[in-house]
Symmetry: C2
Subunit: 338 residues, 2 copies
């Protein structure tokens, strides 16, 4: 029964189905190796064109010793949004995790199904969340992500990822990562950049896969967090149901300052919810030459076609001369497919 | 006049004068090199004995492949307190910085001298801070560390460190670092540990020197912080006068969780204010073999002799079988002297 509810729930959300892209294998090691350890074309899933050339030209100029644009290695900070930037966000994986938690919690304590926000999830009451906006979403996340120790929560995150499938595609969530972005992360790291994920998602849910999915260690994830309270009796951290930091929009620079302590020189986000405009602006205020990149979700065949109503991110990109990734034109492959 | 007040201020605090230790040169590179890149004795400023042997035995067992105690490299997290653990804390450098800021602020706006907490500093009213405790200290720190942009604040931190002398010794603050601890940090890093500073001090004041003084990058500093607010008009972060996180005692595990996202396996603090007990306990709850280390300030000749009234840290160490550093007996040299 619960399984059925859960299945209905995830199908509640509409997805534009898309063809599975060809699996793309990481650059093989049998060709000539460059100084950076990257072999041949560092960005094989990016189509040739102005954008790809601009990325490579930027990385080359800022890493060339003696160049007037040279950036010392400790200042090569690159920040990437996650949802819609490194993997698909239709729906958010965070949402799938929250539903998974509702399922588990209602299984353990069936009377929860009569209480909000569980009730809305169980009864597929989409309007509850539509009306409630961010507040209702945070309420759902708080109800399902707190009230336990950190160790317990992380075990539940690990369990979720083990079996989670992405709706519409029926593939493990790992396969909804964008292959071109994995290549870009690798390329930046090979050139001495420290890569960070700066996500609106909750920090531990992203840390649960950051190393495995993206090669980003836990301490290089900046995200939304709840209050922690150390409990000496348990020798454990208790997760409290109070929001500590909601890492979206203008809170992203604040999260970056707290966790990283430096402005990024390279920042990448996506259009869709206006969540990355402040981060890209902030990186542009760097004293070093900087690079801003924005994913445009314009490929409704291979990915999902969607736009902001007010077009805020693309307008900001045009105004500030940021680089825009046309998924349709710039990416040869989209998903990792493995 | 201001200079005189400032001079009186810093002499207000009593220090036990100590002999400058011999300058210690880092291991030279002309002897045989080990696998880790460390040459000969990795801890030359540590006297031979049980403690030094235990540290080395621990590091060797947890880094040996195939050992039942082996710790994967991504879980080799080492956390160090700063004041009294990596450098002297009589007085706190943070305090010197706050006085420096008072001096600068009163120079720019003399009427501030009539307002608290500036008044207490200018009038050398020690009782104001004694009576006020942590609250008064935070008030002073808030008044001198906030109300400006992050970029302005960091410039003022850099300016402070350029000329700051440590009272009582009349040496640059860099010279009050503990040489044995620098060797320990290097030794751990050479064995794949990621080293973090987890300080009660404010995060940017420590980040201002963490790389240069300790080889610890900015993003590996966890500390006390104030609220940040991104100001799009300035494209800058404004420092707000509200405390965000006071990273001491039981708040240290919470700070570790937020910034690092993992329990440390190696944790080092000091007795003096009971500030590190929770961090050491927390690391001991690690699923991997862990190591806890506590600096005992028992060397009134070469450093400063002081003790907690309730002996809480040393009691916790005895109860939990933590390793205690007797500065008097375990350290051949104390200060870097350069």
């Amino acid at each position: 029964m619960i399984k059925k509810i859960f299945f209905l729930l995830v199908t509640l959300f509409l997805f534009v189905s898309c063809k599975k892209s060809d699996a793309l294998i990481a650059p093989s090691s049998d060709t000539a190796q460059s100084e950076t350890g990257i072999i041949g074309d560092p960005l094989p899933s990016w189509n040739k064109g102005a954008l790809k050339s601009d990325i490579i030209a930027y990385v080359e100029k800022v890493t060339k010793k003696g160049s007037p644009d040279f950036i010392p290695i400790e200042d090569r900070i690159a920040t990437f949004d996650n949802d819609g930037t490194l993997w698909a966000e239709k729906p958010y994986v965070q949402e799938l995790f929250a539903f998974y938690r509702v399922q588990k919690m209602v299984e353990a304590k069936p009377e929860l199904a009569k209480k909000q926000p569980f009730k809305a999830v169980v009864e597929k009451d989409k309007s509850y969340f539509e009306k409630g906006g961010d507040k209702a979403l945070i309420e759902l996340v708080a109800a399902t992500h707190t009230g336990m120790t950190e160790d317990e929560f992380e075990a539940s995150v690990a369990e979720f990822y083990k079996n989670a499938k992405y709706p519409g595609k029926n593939v493990p969530v790992k396969q909804i990562r964008y292959q071109p972005q994995l290549e870009l992360l690798n390329y930046l790291r090979a050139n001495g950049f420290k890569t960070y994920i700066v996500t609106g998602g909750t920090i531990e849910v992203v840390r649960g896969i950051s190393q495995d999915f993206y090669g980003v260690p836990k301490n290089q994830v900046v995200g939304t967090s709840f209050k922690y309270k150390y409990d000496p009796a348990k020798n454990a951290i208790q997760r409290e149901p109070a929001l500590n930091h909601f890492n979206d929009k203008e809170e992203k620079p604040a999260g970056i300052q707290l966790h990283i302590g430096q402005r990024p020189v390279f920042a990448c986000g996506n259009e869709g919810g206006g969540g990355d405009i402040a981060m890209l602006e902030y990186s542009q205020g760097n004293k070093y030459p900087s690079f801003q990149l924005l994913v445009n979700h314009n490929d409704s065949v291979r990915e999902y076609g969607y736009q902001e109503k007010d077009n805020a991110s693309l307008n900001a990109a045009a105004k500030n001369k940021w680089h825009v990734i046309s998924m349709k034109d710039d990416w040869k492959n989209i998903f990792t497919g493995k």
